[in-house]
Symmetry: C2
Subunit: 162 residues, 2 copies
């Protein structure tokens, strides 16, 4: 039985897209999903890259996880498949209740390295989750502030092994 | 003679890096510049990717511009060299005085396509500057909201010509 507040894969449909509007980091990605649904480019209830936690009927936390292929890996050593995590967000009424940590633990459970690029000042949270700043490389990061999480046996790419 | 409020190339030195601290989008990039300077990895007064406007002695606006090679272009048609613009910011006391527009006009003067990925809600401004939303592609944009500017003769890459 699924616990009421387990992390679930989210599916693309009008109801979910409507719930997404409550999140601050609502942008082109979501608008493009609505368009694709309207134009029958994607089917109703097709898989999205989002995961979330419901509290009753309400989506109260979400994040997106995308598996990046090893050939595009510029962060880890050895170069390997990793997860790009974005738009991790818990609705204001439910902050401080451990949902953010539950989402990140879910992401870690794939046992792949994780990269994220938090848009809001949240370095304290990510540090507690065991993430570290990637060594800044201008050509790669272009002003971004990537954070990475390394599972056992994986290290950060350095200029020596790039 | 340089006008007092012309756009200037900024050089990496402790004074400039100190002035950068007033800007909201201060991050790993700047911290890494300080470290590189302290460890003599970069020379004092070496070129930075930043441009700025001084009002008297004070840096009141800045942005970073980086030329991306044609082989990495995933946005334009035909694929070509373009400018990645980031961290455009005018200090609060000087907003609404046209400095943002002056910076963007400077970037446009290279006559290369421009891509930017604004972190703060500023779509109205970018629209006025003639920028448009790039058609969202998940594998490329990973949750970001890129905006592009097309000089004459350049169009957006579509899935047809990718």
């Amino acid at each position: 039985m699924i616990n009421d507040t387990d992390v679930e894969k989210l599916f693309i449909n009008y109801k979910t897209l409507e719930q997404f509007k409550r999140f601050k980091e609502y942008g082109n990605q979501e608008l493009s999903m609505i368009e694709d649904l309207q134009n029958n480019i994607v089917e109703n209830n097709s898989e999205s890259p989002f995961y979330g936690i419901y509290f009753g009927d309400n989506l109260i936390a979400r994040m997106s996880l995308y598996k990046v292929k090893a050939k595009y890996d510029n962060y880890f050593n050895p170069p390997q498949e990793y997860l790009e995590l974005w738009k991790l967000e818990v609705l204001p009424d439910h902050r401080g209740e451990g949902y953010g940590k539950r989402m990140v633990d879910f992401a870690k459970s794939f046992n792949l390295p994780i990269k994220t690029n938090p848009r809001i000042k949240s370095h304290g949270f990510w540090e507690k989750m065991g993430f570290q700043k990637a060594k800044y490389e201008m050509e790669r990061d272009l002003g971004e502030n990537p954070l990475i999480w390394l599972p056992k046996g994986v290290s950060e790419k350095t200029s020596d092994n790039s």
